[in-house]
């Protein structure tokens, strides 16, 4: 009976796998190859892992503005280990940037790019650019506020290109505005074009690496070359295992942030790029107005050109870093410059509230949404899902119309609820739904819920708290700093009695005395 060895022999005779295996494992390495030479293997591992985790995420992702955010929310909140895989992909991207820069720094310090390895270096620089393009295109895909606004900035940077700026930006957007077509083309680039480019460049890089061999230590040592396996393979394996352990620890410990869903009408959002683009973002601040292209094009272009041309600028055969002072100094200046800019950018980042944290309007909305008027249809076994499980996929005006009069939007669903809902109540319910959509859970106990409900039912029609409501009257987010409960209660009862020129209507006839007192207490506590 033929055994496994026979099968392998047969396969070898048809394919030559034994020679291939030997070619891979017995690669002769110059003496003195040490731990500095594991960085490329780490990078290769991380890139492969990124392809795998990305493929798995793609099984859940939908590249359309109506669905992208919810599909990412679903994989994070509902798929077993989904948040972990997203963590691997998210932190993996940062790891790749770090590993790539470390790998390049090693190559620069060791002078490994020198003849005959100039083209190997060029493929490496191209790989770094591809990695950056991956990071940039991947950033838009979750379709949250951060994604939307950071991409707006990216596209506007491209728009500052002299002469063709407008055309470039339009092609990047797929039209005149950032929307469905933008998301689709960035997604296609991220999962189709760039992976092909990555694969081609990695293969070219590895082929050239094997063709010229590893450069080895700065000063060549005497002795016989050692095969890759097992001497260097064990170093690679240990290093990869250490990096992997660190990556899974991060992915298991930290939740990848997901902001509220992209809202093109929200002008208050301050966009921030990912940390590895922060230095460029910071640079932009020092070149305002017409000088902007200096920060967006000239400086980054010059840096990339300088880095790419290093092997042609630094042509002497000397590899020792101590004897290549100019190159080492120039690269150090670049590294320190990028580091300082990144630090300044980090220091300047605004603090952000968790998108799932309930605001007063959302708490009021949760109260209105548990109302019998909604639950008549929104219940298990009912005509629609329970409101707590409902994810809004329509725009705000649609939802407001539906909440006021369900029959108006879905004819035949049911009669309008008696008295309908006031617009401010509808807005509260939308705020509640948005918070649910962002993964928030309504708090079980709230201080002075009555006051909050009155605010949601009446005040939010003209006033804003925590950025929610309608801006007709003053923002009440911190009204308690200036006014106490007693003053507020008198004012709300009849503003004209306090100030004859007041625009605000009197509420003493519309609210019960205890409601008046509750809302005054709620507002007075806003400090």
């Amino acid at each position: 009976m033929p055994g496994l060895t026979d099968l392998i022999d047969w396969l070898d005779s048809r394919t030559g796998i034994k020679a291939g295996r030997a070619h891979l494992l017995d690669e002769p390495l110059p003496p003195g190859v040490n731990w500095w030479f594991v960085l490329g293997s780490i990078l290769l591992f991380l890139l492969a892992l990124q392809v795998i985790s990305g493929s798995v995420l793609a099984m859940y992702y939908v590249a359309a503005p109506d669905h992208a955010y919810d599909s990412v929310r679903y994989v994070t909140d509902h798929v077993p280990l989904g948040a972990f895989v997203r963590g691997l992909h998210f932190f993996g991207a940062s790891f790749i940037v770090i590993a790539a820069v470390a790998h390049m720094a090693r190559v620069v310090a060791f002078g490994s790019y020198k003849s005959p390895r100039e083209v190997t270096w060029l493929t490496g620089v191209a790989l770094l650019l591809v990695i950056m393009a991956f990071a940039l295109t991947g950033y838009l895909l979750p379709w949250d506020q951060k994604a939307f606004w950071a991409t707006t900035v990216t596209i506007n940077i491209a728009r500052s290109t002299p002469l063709f700026g407008e055309a470039i930006a339009s092609v990047m957007r797929g039209g005149s505005q950032l929307g469905a077509l933008t998301l689709l083309r960035w997604y296609a680039t991220h999962v189709l074009l760039l992976p092909v480019a990555l694969l081609a460049l990695v293969l070219a890089h590895l082929f050239l690496m094997r063709r010229h061999g590893i450069s080895g230590p700065v000063t060549p040592r005497a002795g016989a070359p050692a095969p890759f396996y097992p001497y260097h393979a064990i170093r690679d394996t240990v290093a990869v295992a250490a990096v992997f352990a660190l990556l899974i620890t991060l992915a298991a410990t930290f939740r990848v942030p997901l902001d509220g869903m992209a809202d093109p009408s929200d002008a208050t959002y301050v966009p921030r790029p990912e940390w590895y683009f922060l230095s460029l973002f910071q640079l932009l601040k020092y070149f305002p107005g017409r000088l902007e292209p200096v920060a967006t094009m000239v400086i980054p272009g010059a840096v990339v050109a300088f880095v790419a041309l290093l092997p042609f600028l630094d042509r002497r055969p000397e590899r020792h870093p101590g004897k290549r002072r100019f190159v080492m100094a120039a690269c150090s200046v670049l590294a320190v410059g990028a580091g300082v800019l990144t630090y300044l950018g980090l220091k300047d980042s605004p603090a952000r509230a968790e998108p799932g944290t309930f605001t007063p309007l959302a708490i009021a909305g949760a109260e209105f949404a548990t109302d019998q008027r909604c639950a008549a249809c929104h219940r298990t076994g009912g005509a629609a899902n329970p409101v707590s499980q409902t994810r809004i996929t329509r725009d705000r005006e649609w939802v407001i119309a539906h909440i006021r009069d369900p029959d108006n939007i879905t004819p035949g669903s049911r009669k309008p609820p008696p008295g309908g809902m006031r617009e401010s109540q509808a807005r509260s319910v939308i705020s509640y739904l948005q918070h649910v959509r962002a993964g928030g859970v309504a708090p079980s106990s709230v201080d002075n819920k009555q006051g909050i409900v009155v605010f949601g039912a009446w005040c939010a029609n003209c006033h804003i708290i925590d950025g929610e409501g309608v801006k007709n009257g003053p923002d009440l987010t911190r009204v308690g700093v200036k006014r106490d409960a007693k003053w507020l209660q008198t004012w709300i009862s009849d503003p004209a009695a306090v100030d004859a020129k007041a625009d605000m209507p009197a509420f003493e006839d519309r609210l019960e005395p205890d409601e008046l007192a509750a809302v005054a207490r709620f507002l007075a506590a806003r400090k």
Binding site: I52, H67, R73, L81, G82, L88, A241, G381, A383, Q389
Partner: protein
């Protein structure tokens, strides 16, 4: 070798688990109002469309499910309209008194038993109950 296997096994486990996701979980059922007893004719399969709000992955959908209700005195049987052969939609042929599948000629009688053609099993039945004249079906 041990380290490589450990890394490979970890990646394989995590990815496989995520790919499986919630695919193997049991489907959730609940009771849906289907018809009133007065709508049903004794012994005659009546197709009713049940609107059921469901979770479809990351989104909510309202599926329309066609079920045949057959009344026998005070009892109601609910038959699936999905042919057990390859999943086409069967319809009631009153003249032949058979539920017929348009795809490969499967035929079922009014209790769902296969009378002709390739179907390997009778039509699926859903639990029913009657609440003050309202027929409820669990699916």
């Amino acid at each position: 070798m041990v380290i490589q296997t450990a890394i490979g096994a970890t990646v394989a486990f995590v990815m496989t688990r995520t790919v499986i996701g919630r695919a193997l979980g049991a489907a959730q059922t609940s009771w849906w109002p289907a018809a009133t007893m007065a709508d049903l004719i004794e012994g005659e399969p009546t197709p009713v469309t049940i609107r059921r709000a469901q979770t479809d992955g990351y989104r909510q959908t309202v599926n329309r499910e066609v079920v045949f209700l057959i009344r026998t005195k005070d009892q109601v049987t609910a038959l699936s309209s999905t042919c057990t052969h390859l999943g086409c939609r069967v319809s009631w042929d009153a003249e032949a008194a058979l539920l017929k599948c348009p795809c490969h000629g499967g035929k079922f009688d009014r209790s769902g038993v296969v009378k002709a053609g390739p179907p390997p099993a009778p039509l699926a039945r859903f639990p029913t109950r009657i609440e003050s004249g309202q027929v409820m079906v669990e699916l």
